[in-house]
């Protein structure tokens, strides 16, 4: 297992490279002097010159990049222009909010999606199954923010069960906190539910036709057991495959959802940072996002090996 994990980390190195290079180039490609941009309009020429030497902007690109790598690895990511705090201090507290909602919506999407998808495939000739299939295709045609708006309309404005927005931290109480994140989590999760249900449906339909399902039937095993033990076990592989895509989608969506519900998460932080030209912060957030994606992909690869031990034996052919 360890050697497999190591292999997977190696394979993910190129994925690390992309956000790194992106962030590096980001600043240097922007019109204007990078140091001046970083320090903003209020900076004095001396400050700008100082930053220029500090960043090594006079040196060849390769040297700059190496320096940049070094900074990243030692977490010297600069200070946020507007929050007047080091970037590495700012990000975690916002990230926590986003991650919490993200994980919750992932769970929602997986639970609802697999249920819906199983229904769509196992009962595909019944009304329930056909409805599930239809829900799937409609669901992926609806943008996340629309789900959010409808949820707000029905549950916050209409039923007054929840607030229209605003975030309540844990410290203010468990239940108020949960109340403030349920709608956002569902807004994010419902969008992905449809996607997961379609993948599940396809995966189950594929596995259902395999001969070993007939063998299980010949032994008199009840259908619900065949579905759960024999079929879903293999279908989950296909679902795992899209887990990486799913997380990227959730992170994307969180920018929108946080903006709608007024949550202090990374998405909104990014939006604000971009609008205020707070480059150090933008850079930090992009790097952090890249890190999250890589960790998620690694987790998925490791889970793969657990669900299907054959994977460890054979090299994955892309």
């Amino acid at each position: 297992m360890l050697s497999y994990a190591f292999q997977r980390v190696l394979a993910l190195l190129p994925t690390v490279a992309v956000p790194l290079i992106l962030v590096f180039l980001l600043l240097r490609l922007a019109p204007g002097d990078p140091a001046a941009i970083l320090l903003g309009d209020q900076a004095t020429p001396e400050q700008v010159a100082g930053l220029r030497t500090e960043l090594g902007l006079d040196q060849p690109l390769i040297a700059q990049f190496l320096k940049f790598l070094g900074d990243v690895l030692t977490l010297h990511l600069g200070n946020s222009l507007f929050l007047h705090r080091p970037v590495v201090e700012v990000i975690p507290q916002y990230a926590a909010v986003t991650l919490e909602i993200g994980v919750l919506s992932l769970i929602i999407a997986l639970v609802l999606g697999v249920t819906l998808g199983s229904s769509a495939s196992l009962r595909r000739n019944t009304r329930r199954g056909r409805a599930a299939t239809a829900l799937g295709i409609v669901g992926i045609s609806v943008p996340q923010f629309l789900f959010a708006l409808v949820l707000i309309l029905v549950f916050a404005v209409g039923a007054h069960w929840f607030n229209v927005g605003g975030y309540v931290p844990w410290s203010a109480g468990a239940w108020p906190h949960i109340r403030s994140i349920i709608l956002p989590a569902f807004a994010l999760g419902l969008g992905e539910t449809a996607f997961v249900s379609r993948i599940t449906r396809g995966a189950v339909l594929d596995v259902m036709q395999e001969p070993f399902v007939t063998t299980a039937k010949s032994l008199g095993i009840p259908l619900h057991r065949i579905n759960r033990v024999h079929i879903l076990r293999l279908s989950s592989l296909q679902i795992l495959t899209v887990a990486g895509l799913l997380s990227a989608s959730l992170i994307s969506g969180s920018a929108v959802v946080e903006s709608i519900f007024g949550l202090p998460g990374m998405g909104r932080l990014l939006l604000d940072a971009v609008q205020r030209r707070d480059y150090q912060l933008v850079q930090g957030i992009v790097l952090f996002t890249g890190l999250v994606i890589i960790v998620v992909n690694l987790l998925v690869d490791l889970l793969y090996a657990v669900v299907d031990p054959r994977v460890q034996l054979a090299r994955k052919i892309k």
Binding site: P19, I137, S141, Q144, V157, S252, A255
Partner: protein, 295 residues
């Protein structure tokens, strides 16, 4: 966010039976749901194209006509500034469809080029596909926002970020089709008859890529429309003076229960457009992948 490109785009088995686009279209027309979907989409495109001819100015407003519900004068009602709902929806179609089309086109061209290169040259394959995989798993909106910090908001930024994240999907489809087809005996036959690499590729391999690429391009189109509307919604997409569905929905936020027509019509237009393309995509996949036939 409805997602980009499912990684398992139909694995091309039995490419010899892969219908060409014309054949696919013929088979699609046999299904009633698909015909309805195509009709709706064509209607939307025509409306968008003929916008200046069929509706008034989406930006002009009459302050006394604010927040009026649908009526014979204003089929889709008026918004909070008194602008005509129908005009805003139709012009919004223009914006969304245009962004979708441009993104789709660029993505297809770049993705196909990369896929061809990867399919034909081993070294390119090894290096490029790794980078491509890294890029495709990056959240598109984060990328769009980051690019916005550098390049400023607007159409260009939006399109660039979407093309960057979506082209790997197309590249992979082209590459995997190329890999599958190059294993076929007919390629060996061509090689032994003396056909060169390029000839083999363009004469034999490439034609098989057409239909899968079309399907993937359609998927990119839907993703582009959805992402653009999301970006416009949070104010990071098209400029505010350009009517778009996302912006219209953002404006409706404060009037959710008081002026339902403000979010209902742009919302339905958006969902309808994307749904119609998705229906066609699904039907195409059913036709291309015989295993899906579960009747």
């Amino acid at each position: 966010m409805s997602t980009v490109s499912t990684p398992a785009a139909p694995a091309p088995h039995a490419p010899a039976e892969l219908p060409r686009p014309a054949g696919l279209l013929r088979k699609l027309i046999r299904r009633p749901a698909t015909v309805g979907a195509i009709a709706f989409f064509v209607l939307m495109v025509l409306a968008a194209a003929a916008a200046p001819l069929i509706v008034g100015d989406p930006n002009s407003f009459v302050a006394t006509e604010r927040l009026r519900p649908p009526s014979p004068a204003h089929w889709f009602g008026t918004d909070n500034l008194g602008r005509d709902g129908l005009a805003r929806v139709v012009y919004g179609a223009r914006a969304s469809l245009l962004v979708g089309a441009i993104t789709c086109l660029l993505t297809t061209v770049i993705g196909t080029a990369v896929g061809i290169a990867a399919g034909m040259f081993r070294t390119v394959d090894l290096i490029v596909m790794r980078i491509v995989d890294g890029v495709m798993s990056f959240p598109v909106i984060v990328l769009a926002l980051a690019l916005m910090a550098i390049l400023g908001p607007g159409l260009v930024t939006v399109v660039i970020s979407m093309v960057v994240v979506f082209f790997p999907g197309v590249a992979r489809v082209v590459r995997s089709t190329a890999l599958v087809v190059s294993e076929l005996p007919m390629i060996d036959a061509a090689k032994s008859a003396g056909a060169g690499r390029w000839r083999i590729f363009f004469r034999y391999v490439f034609p098989h890529c057409t239909t899968p690429v079309l399907v993937q391009a359609a998927i990119v189109f839907t993703a582009a429309v959805l992402v653009e509307s999301a970006l416009s919604f949070i104010g990071a997409g098209l400029p505010p003076d350009v009517p778009s569905w996302g912006a219209a929905l953002a404006e409706s936020r404060s009037y959710l229960s008081t002026a339902w027509w403000m979010w209902c019509f742009p919302g339905l237009a958006l969902i309808g457009t994307v749904l119609s393309v998705n229906i066609v995509i699904d039907a195409s996949r059913d036709i291309l992948d015989p295993r899906e036939a579960d009747k």
